[in-house]
């Protein structure tokens, strides 16, 4: 990554939004630089949330489905084929008030920026929320997992708990029935917000049980998980559910810390964009889950990534410098 020349386009993030923006801007000869993020076992990683999934059944063009990580590997290859440059680094600071826009990576936040650019496409996505209980962090990798597809294998014939009531929670639960003796879904309300098709599948599955109106208040176990403490939010009753594994799927938060004080956000921290993908800062465009907590699909992220690429291209043309 060379800071010598100012880039036309830098893309932060490499999920479906970022990589689609990369394909389009690369094909427009803008030689995009994709700052794809750093390895982690949360969804804040290169490739994004789909890296933690298995079968994707609703991405158009794949009549028999496609594996999430495979789809992302293919998108990355497609972007590279047209000349996108991809670096496995995470942006640590951006200064959108400068012209050109300044970006630092690798935990640096001062000195000369690592890269400068005339336009910026923000596609940093969202990451899964955890319960934020002290024992949850302590038992991570000891029965607490952030990745069902990675770790389901370790819970053959064990008792598993999944926390959450949306599509992600039910997808994880259904996946985990391939391994576990039982899968108990713990949900803080008494109805699910998941789609009808996922609810039908979950209710039909004999291995899946539900604990309604309940929240997890503690994760129990010395060197591995042996249970979770629950509180019934209606009656206030406390109880313990004996399980060997805990998977959390209670929703997402946007990766927008980098832009605090620089870009407009809604009350949940998602970026505000529009018309199109434009933010209030000239030359800065937002696409994918970082600006969308309504649709949150791979295909809508890809679609808005394409929009951001076209918006950036028009912006650059209006500067008359490309």
């Amino acid at each position: 990554m060379e800071a010598v020349t100012t880039r036309d386009v830098v893309i932060l993030g490499s999920g479906p939004a970022g990589l689609t923006a990369a394909v389009y801007t690369a094909r427009a000869n803008l030689r995009p630089l994709v700052v794809e993020g750093e390895p982690s076992s949360t969804s804040d990683q290169p490739g994004g949330q789909l890296m933690l999934t298995t079968e994707v059944e609703n991405y158009p063009g794949f009549p028999t489905g496609v594996q999430g990580p495979q789809l992302m590997t293919d998108m990355r290859e497609q972007a590279e084929r047209f000349g996108a440059e991809i670096v496995t680094k995470k942006a640590s600071r951006v200064d959108l008030s400068r012209s050109p826009i300044a970006i630092w990576v690798d935990d640096r936040d001062g000195g000369e920026p690592d890269v400068t650019t005339r336009s910026l496409i923000v596609a940093t996505g969202a990451r899964s929320l955890m319960l934020n209980l002290p024992n949850e962090a302590r038992l991570l990798g000891r029965g607490v997992s952030t990745c069902a597809t990675c770790d389901g294998f370790f819970f053959k014939d064990r008792r598993i708990a999944v926390v959450g009531g949306g599509d992600s929670a039910l997808e994880e639960a259904l996946f985990l029935t391939k391994f576990g003796e039982s899968v108990t879904i713990i949900h803080r309300r008494k109805e699910l917000r998941a789609s009808k098709i996922m609810q039908d599948r979950a209710f039909k599955n004999e291995k899946i049980a539900f604990v309604w109106d309940s929240v997890v208040t503690d994760v129990l176990g010395d060197d591995r998980v042996n249970g979770v403490a629950l509180r019934d939010v209606v009656t206030g009753n406390e109880s313990v559910l004996a399980v060997d594994g805990l998977f959390v799927a209670i929703g997402h938060e946007p990766n927008t810390g980098l832009f605090r004080g620089q870009l407009e956000m809604d009350e949940l921290g998602y970026l505000k964009a529009g018309p199109g993908t434009a933010t209030a800062v000239a030359g800065v465009f937002a696409c994918g889950d970082v600006q969308d907590h309504v649709y949150r699909q791979a295909v809508t992220a890809a679609g808005s990534g394409c929009m951001a690429a076209i918006d950036a291209e028009r912006y650059l043309a209006s500067l008359g410098e490309t």
Binding site: T42, P69, G143, S145, T149, C150
Partner: protein, 109 residues
């Protein structure tokens, strides 16, 4: 796979890892694990950078469940650093090169 990375199994683990004179970083991984794929090139870089001071080994948990169980591995990737035959440090989940090195470097001569 980089030539500096060796593959170990349930059968060769003690010979290659616990009996080694040099510290050994063992990557517990499996084919189906997305984050394992992301961290693999980082480990190749580390193996090259630390050649002669650190041995880097990969253990497929699907084919070698005994070793995974022996060290209580219940999430992948798990990176275990062995020194003098004993686990000296542990990272659960994929990390950046800098984060892995800052955790393991104190144990590497």
């Amino acid at each position: 796979m980089a030539e500096n990375i060796i593959t170990v199994s349930d059968d060769t683990f003690d010979e290659e890892v616990t009996a080694a004179s040099m510290p050994v970083l063992v990557d517990f991984w499996a084919e189906w694990c997305g984050p394992c794929k992301i961290v693999a090139p980082v480990l190749e870089e580390i193996a090259d950078d630390k050649e002669g001071r650190l041995k880097v080994a990969k253990l497929n948990v699907d084919d070698n469940p005994r070793t995974a169980q022996r060290f209580g591995v219940m999430s992948i990737p798990t990176l275990l650093l062995f020194k003098d035959g004993e686990p000296a440090s542990r990272i659960v989940g994929a990390r950046s090169k800098n984060q892995i090195l800052s955790e393991f470097e104190p144990h590497i001569a």
